[in-house]
Symmetry: C2
Subunit: 333 residues, 2 copies
DNA sequence: TTCCAATGTGTAACCGGTTACACATGGTGG
DNA sequence: CCACCATGTGTAACCGGTTACACATTGGAA
């Protein structure tokens, strides 16, 4: 592989000149420029990113830290991140944290050691101290999902509370008279916000009691288990708002096994808008998050921060929308 | 951030000694070792991966190049790769190629520029010349899926032909008398092998004609379109072997729309074993590939090659297995 | 005419590691 | 007693870039 010194020698200039041309920094005479470009072409020269990183502290690398890429919510997000990163000349490191603090810390270390330029974080585990350790290292971070409690970095997220209310309103519209909720782990802000949205929407109804809520794990099995408990406690529930699509799919499956007909006996609305939701029978009604857009926006913001084009810590909240499908086509509404 | 020179100074030794200790290369006196370790702890020293990469040409980075992480087949693979990589101290770069040669070439360039230690490739686009350009740069590659036509690097894959035959045999067992096939793009080796397996299994039957095969795009829509064409050409088909699960899901959906009952009128068997296949109603019978294991094995081999522990170019072919589910529960068999 | 800013280029230090090589010491076999 | 090897450590070059700084040259304003 040719180095910058080879290019300089062939073009009869100094390496500083070549570097200036490459980085469009400082002055370079038009003629010189042509000579150097010719040399670059002849030698098939490609600047070495590692050397650049060492000298300039910029490696053109973003890290994407998420709980688990095999959770169907994340691939589309990852895709968006990678697409945007690539168009700006960045490369993406993939990190699965499983929401385990020690894994996350491990990655943080790796990132400092690698001069990662910026980090996209999907996590509810990360605490403020960890974030600070990153800002000491001057590595910009953008959080997805996280609460805006203490804003110390930009946040990109969906309007979870509004989405939950949208879901409940829809269930009411299609004729539900008693609507339960299956919620995810309350350490996760998104889960909590959806619970709050649900309560907000139902608390004025006489039928509502807190026992109409049931916790689950944000997985297919979690949804299946929770729906069974909830339905045995409140057999007369005729509508379910479920905290994410994965749980909703599990619940749908379980209800079928239990001989409960969906949507005739119980209508279901999920949350997220993952692909799989459109494939079941009946198709799952859900609150759709613009996953790709969220990933795009987060990455753009991160790159802006990296390149020093943004000082503030904006918070972007994306609107969600209802995809009304088979699991709420009751014929009662 | 502390550097190796800070550590050396504090410990009262030379940087070479620190480096030797860090890399467990050469001799280090037990007492010296303790002093240096104390200094490392006190300074909170972490060796800089970038500098290491520049000096030693090893960056601890793997690249995973696949068509599209948002295709449900790949997240589990990616997860396996990242898991194994992490346990060996490697980091994974995620690259979506969309099977576009120019994107792939772009990534190749990035990888050379970054001293990526090794590459995992899922591609049917990559040609021999590209591969050679990588081996010139001495970057080990492991291919997933690719044909073993010209073995110039290790290959890890599934027994597609056997899987196809398994599928057809199963369809026959459950009573199908006329089995069609929807296949994926023939540039893709896996698609071709499945076609060949199908033909092998059906060609001795009197009902078989090549018109019982229909091409599709390995997507949900591709499967939906293909099944419609195929069924209008051969309305008496009572079993379908479909080249991948995504297409099978599309076909299932379309048949329902067309009023064809599955599995009563037409039984369906897919290929891959993606999560979603177990969620439909009826659940999709499919040929399951051990996706996670494939990813694990490929990554292990790659790391072995990187670390010089393997010279050969082995070919691993994983067994596939039948997951008999609702779409083939005909009651005819 | 003088001075200064804009333009253009080269030198050399630096980023933070790895490693070849030289050198010292002490024990062992012949 | 000497040669030689295993052990232990330091010096300095090198990896391939970036960039501060010094040093021309040129042209226009004062």
């Amino acid at each position: 592989m040719a180095t910058i010194r080879d290019v300089a020698k062939l073009a009869g200039v100094s390496i500083a000149t070549v570097s200036r041309l490459l980085n469009k920094s400082g002055y370079v005479n038009e003629e010189t420029k042509l000579k150097v470009e010719a040399a670059i072409r002849k030698l098939n020269y490609e600047p070495n990113t590692i050397a650049r990183g060492l000298a300039g502290k910029k490696t053109g690398t973003l890290a994407l830290v998420l709980p688990d890429i095999s959770n169907p919510f994340f691939p589309e997000l990852a895709r968006a991140v990678e697409d945007v990163a690539r168009t700006y000349g960045y490369t993406v490191l993939l990190c699965n944290s499983d929401n385990q603090p020690d894994k996350e810390r491990g990655y943080m270390q790796v990132m400092r050691q690698r001069y990662v330029d910026g980090i996209l974080f999907v996590s509810h585990t990360l605490n403020a101290r960890d974030l600070e350790s990153m800002s000491e290292a001057k590595i910009p971070i953008v959080m997805l999902d996280r609460s805006p409690a203490k804003v110390i970095c930009p946040v990109v997220r969906s309007k979870n509370g509004e989405g939950a209310q949208l879901a409940v309103r829809h269930l009411l519209e299609v004729g539900c008279r008693k609507i339960g909720h299956i919620y995810g782990p309350q350490e996760m802000i998104v889960a909590k916000e959806r619970v709050m949205g649900y309560e907000e929407a139902v608390r004025s109804f006489p039928w509502y009691t807190p026992t109409m809520m049931e916790p689950g794990y944000f997985t297919i099995e979690g949804g299946a288990d929770a729906v069974e408990k909830l339905m045995s406690r409140h057999p007369d529930i005729d509508g379910l708002f479920i905290g994410n699509d994965l749980m909703a799919l599990g619940a749908l499956k379980k209800l079928k096994m239990l001989g409960v007909s969906v949507p005739d006996q119980v209508a279901i609305c999920g949350f997220d808008g993952i692909q799989m939701a459109a494939l079941t029978e009946p198709e799952l009604t859900t609150i759709v998050q613009p996953i790709y857009d969220i990933g795009m926006m987060a990455t753009r913001i991160l790159i802006k921060k990296i390149e020093g084009l943004m000082e503030e810590h904006p918070i972007f909240e994306f609107d969600v929308s209802l995809a009304a499908r088979g699991t709420t086509r009751t014929g009662r509404g």
